[in-house]
Symmetry: C2
Subunit: 376 residues, 2 copies
């Protein structure tokens, strides 16, 4: 109830509030917001709606939709997926913050669905070419067990979801409005279908309308929930370029499909490839090659023969904190790395997925020989 | 006559012979070859044909065709264009050598025509898309005074020449056979047309047939005579990739046009872009941006705000040998840089074209402020 109340109050990501919750707990944070017993940075974002508490009704509503609220306390919370956003926090914009909660419809576990996922996004005004390529690549990715993350928009987004559904593949639609308010309205049926077998996700509470800045914030979630972003078609000012920017800030590969130089719907893709913002790919195999688990931690386009060499930030600290032989418990790793326990716990699964560490009775250990990367 | 005799004997590039000529002069070199008074390295390449002297007949033949032999002694010899090949010599393959002579048909000066030139090459099995894009980009380049260099082959090559001819633009066809033996035969009329207003060039003597390895050697001349290579379409095993390789070895930009991922004729372009061998471009303006004179000396993809910083090899040595204020004569630059006078003379025009130096009564001087490069 406290989470739901706060989600309604701040209406989207709020780094300062997430930090307050992390330090005093969600109940105490909710009390502080209610009473406006807050540091300066939190007054403004909470002032307007702190008097509104529709938590009970919101919960009832989401349950009636067959949905749920997933909070950072839940086992389903995709902690290590969203960790990159925490690291961006320190930085620039409010929109880069970790989501407060996620409103979710659909039968799958968000944590598991996002474990091997590719975001497929692009032009709303897609062409027959873009639709066809989306269909082929998504079918192949979905058939190989990759979850397709997209934004349920017209054009490439919708095509990506549909192609995944067509092969019974998992797909996640991340909305910029409440999960009860399908946007665009013409995609109501598509979004319902996604909710039936995949997941519909939003950080905005039920009833929230889609506002412009929310699309930009939504794009960061699309990027965060996937191993990489594939842009199939994009005009010069496409929102896909924004998603690519988030992907790169999160250190994940951004990929783009080339097309005819006569097609306005490929201009954005060509520009991103030309400017080194995205790597040219032409088929599913190349997408997997780039978005595969070992690429996870590689910063912008970097490569490494030994994946451990490519680690940075918390991942590097925690890997370094593990002895070459022997195991360590998370609490020991926290002590040794100087990182909070929550950060240690969030990073360990990523290192495991990359084949660098394993878990045993006595805690975590380095694996004997990390899987080597595919040479290009 | 000595040059022509030697051209017939070695039948293509021969670094060892070029070096011998450079050191003892062409007459003495011809005598040595005739008498087989040669170092080991020159015995084998000259043994088979040193007894054949058809120089007088060859000269008569080329004159009858309205052509000429251009030798390194001639003012028309594109010395600084071919300098890169001299520098490759030290290295690996015989095919990388500077040409001994060039057999030329056509009314233009080879030196002047190759001053602002783009090589446009690609698939013999081009598509309607490739032909259309070649036509548009070449028309624009030719209209802006760029010479189009290509190989007169079917597909993109032929289209590139035709598009240049259509706007009365200068175009150079570099053949892998004698200039009197049009290859492919079906392009005889096209090649004649090019010879009427542009240039048809070969390093092989009249009558020489097109052999496989000669195409690879020919590709290096296409790359060497241009400021950059543009590949419009290329299959996976296209010869265009070989031309791109030469372009990169010569430190000049390699550019490629994207296309449909469904088109086999674009697979090679996509591969080169993906592997960082070529930069994606979509229109003439972008080609000029990359191939413009200031890119000349930049090695593989490097950029610099101050063009002088980007110099390397002989160009850097000679630029450094110039005082910040004051002039130096070529002989002084040779003394100071430790380079032979011929190398100094070959490099100076390139530095001038890059806007880094100028010539005056007292020799060469650094320009006050080098033109700055276009930011990307």
């Amino acid at each position: 109830m406290a989470w739901v109340y706060l989600s309604r109050v701040v209406h989207g990501p709020c780094a300062a509030l997430s930090a307050l919750i992390e330090s005093v707990g969600v109940l105490e944070a909710a009390r502080a917001v209610r009473e406006s017993a807050l540091p300066e940075s939190l007054r403004e974002p909470t002032e307007r709606r702190r008097g509104i508490d529709t938590a009970a009704r919101d919960l009832e509503l989401i349950e009636r939709l067959g949905g749920r609220v997933v909070t950072p306390d839940d086992p389903e919370w995709p902690a290590w997926r969203l960790l990159g956003l925490t690291q961006l926090d320190a930085g620039r914009d409010r929109d880069g913050a970790i989501p407060l909660v996620l409103w979710v419809r659909g039968p799958r576990s968000l944590l598991e669905s996002s474990e091997r996922a590719v975001a497929v996004v692009g032009a709303r005004c897609s062409t027959a070419y873009g639709n066809q390529v989306t269909g082929e690549i998504v079918s192949e990715l979905a058939a190989q067990g990759w979850t397709i993350v997209s934004g349920a928009a017209f054009g490439i987004d919708g095509m990506a979801h549909r192609a995944a559904l067509a092969v019974d593949g998992p797909t996640i639609a991340v909305l910029a409005c409440g999960v009860d308010r399908p946007y665009p309205a013409q995609h109501e049926r598509l979004i319902d279908e996604i909710a039936d077998t995949g997941l519909v996700v939003s950080e905005y509470p039920p009833g929230a309308a889609a506002r412009k800045h929310q699309f930009l914030a939504r794009n960061r979630l699309i990027a965060a929930l996937a191993d990489g972003v594939l842009v199939v078609e994009a005009g010069l000012r496409s929102g896909a370029r924004n998603t690519v920017k988030w992907s790169r800030r999160l250190g994940r590969p951004a990929l783009a499909i080339p097309g005819s130089v006569n097609s306005a719907a490929s201009v954005g893709c060509h520009r991103m490839i030309r400017d080194g913002e995205a790597l040219l790919v032409t088929r599913a195999e190349e997408v997997i090659d780039e978005a595969g688990p070992l690429r996870l931690s590689l910063p912008d386009g970097a490569r490494a023969d030994n994946p451990a060499d490519a680690l940075s930030g918390d991942e590097a600290l925690i890997f370094e904190a593990l002895p070459v032989i022997g195991s360590r418990r998370p609490s020991e790793l926290a002590d040794q790395s100087g990182l909070p326990l929550s950060a240690v716990r969030a990073v360990l699964p990523a290192l495991e997925l990359a084949g660098l560490i394993g878990a045993g009775e006595n805690g975590w250990h380095r694996t004997a020989s990390p899987r080597s990367t595919t040479p290009r």
